[in-house]
């Protein structure tokens, strides 16, 4: 446990020792604002909620989260550091969890910094703040899911660009499977049970239900399971790939 703490501390420190942290946070804040106000018509809708703001998060994360995740392991392999890490008396899972948690907390921090949105909307009207808190939680869980996928693919290659592109593609598939257009297509020739099964694998389905204010334990468990499985896969991939 103490080694996870040291790893998280070191990783977080390294984000802020390099420009990564500042670039990411600034871009994230600008983009989430632009998406919410311009494309989501947050202001013109005349409703006191943050639904348009949160609706764009999956698409924002689709590119920004793999950008954070791509360096998690491929950089360590490229610099040869992996040899040092794997010969320290620390469990492989501790490394994987530590690095993941640091990146997740970092994205969480960027998410927290969107708080002026909440203040503005509270100033403008009388929003359902419970719903907003639930949406923040959903958004954070969604970022964790993307990040776990990115962590695994980052371990698979020494090349960060490849890691980024693969992560975007896989994350996109996980989003796509909940998209109404895709589901309608499947509904043409599949029984409803199968369509529901496909929809239930999607990040979007679970994210949507949380942002609608239904904080179901199932949705939270879903993200927990996705994160756990992809992190476990990360340890396997590290083992497979560390020799070359």
């Amino acid at each position: 446990m103490s080694s996870i703490k040291s790893i998280v501390k070191r990783e977080l420190h390294s984000y802020f020792a390099t420009p990564i942290a500042y670039v990411f946070i600034v871009i994230f804040l600008i983009m989430s604002g632009v998406f919410g106000f311009y494309f989501g018509n947050l202001y013109e809708r005349g409703q006191a909620d943050l639904i348009p703001f949160f609706n764009f998060h999956p698409w924002l994360y689709l590119f920004l989260v793999p950008a954070v995740a791509m360096r998690l392991w491929s950089e360590e392999r490229n610099s040869g550091n992996i040899e040092l890490l794997m010969t320290l008396p620390v469990k492989k899972m501790d490394w994987v969890i530590g690095k993941f948690l640091a990146a997740w907390l970092f994205i969480g921090l960027a998410l927290l910094l969107t708080f002026p949105m909440v203040i503005s909307i509270n100033y403008l009207g009388d929003p359902d703040n419970g719903l907003i808190v639930a949406s923040y939680l959903g958004s954070f869980l969604l970022a964790g899911g993307f990040l776990a996928i990115g962590s695994c693919l980052s371990a698979a290659t020494k090349n960060q660009v490849i890691a980024f592109i693969l992560s975007v593609v896989i994350c996109f598939l996980f989003l796509l499977s909940g998209f109404p257009m895709v589901l309608n297509f499947f509904a043409l020739f599949m029984p409803q049970v199968m369509v529901d099964a496909i929809a239930s694998t999607s990040f979007l389905t679970h994210f949507d239900s949380i942002t609608k204010g239904v904080l179901d334990l199932g949705d939270v468990c879903y993200f927990g399971m996705v994160i756990g499985l992809w992190l476990y896969a990360t340890t396997l991939v590290i083992d497979m790939k560390k020799a070359n």
Binding site: S3, S79, G80, L84, T87
Partner: protein, 313 residues
Amino acid sequence: MIECLNLSKQFGQFTAVNDLSFTAHQGQVLGFLGPNGAGKSTTMKMITGFLEPTAGTIKVCGADITDDPIGVKRKIGYLPEGAPSYGEMEVGQFLFFIAACRGLPANLIKPAVESVISRVNLEKVYYQKIETLSKGFKRRVGLAQAIIHDPEVLIMDEPTDGLDPNQKHQVRSLITDMSKDKTIILSTHILEEVHAVCDRAIIIAGGELVADNTPTEMENMSRYHHAVSFVSDLDTELLNKIKGMDCVLDVNYDARLKETTVFPTQGLFIFDEISDFLRKESIQVKSLKMEAGRLDEVFRNITINTAEREVVK
């Protein structure tokens, strides 16, 4: 103590290490010699638990690495090839991080970092980012992280590679100081280093062990062992006279350096005979010395033969 028994490692079709067995004892510095790609680094990676052997067993201080990887890793200090580290961290931060990962108790971390900093002379760069350091300092940071927890076993992959002569000397004396109560394995390409720090040397070629001796024994295997060399102007007639002596196997004359090397018949001590001869013939000699043997020659003989054997196979 490190025991390796019938160790093999395969990468797909390629055999990097083939049936390697050896033991390194406490208080001993064991040198790994061998051409590039001979399997030295692969062997070290298996001992430190980075790679799993395809076959064979490794015991470090009596414990098998596959049974208790974390426990064994705790006893080992490892300096990987090229001394990797986090470039964006300051030297002090990096060592604090490593000490914490090594499982040192919180109250012992600070004293451990301070002591290792003074032992490898890193005081000047304590607050400097590692990526801004010179190669010599980077290597010393790598060494510091390997010895910070005072390990029983120390494994170093080319610890003096890329250092200047002064830094090499410093690292070597550090290794000699530590060798009393530790088991140390190091790999090197520099043969003088074997003489300077190692109690025993293993030569690996083509993934197999081809020699396991003390450096002195290895020198004794050399053609140059007890050979006598001197610098002087000699003509062919005199050379032939020397060659005709009973105790002489062969004579080699280097025209550029004007150096004559006289090789003795196996095991004979010919220094007296040669110096008597030179005095008798009243030859002006600039220098006269007896050679201990040349490690590089032994190394070449052993490893090149193995390489040829591989081709024949």
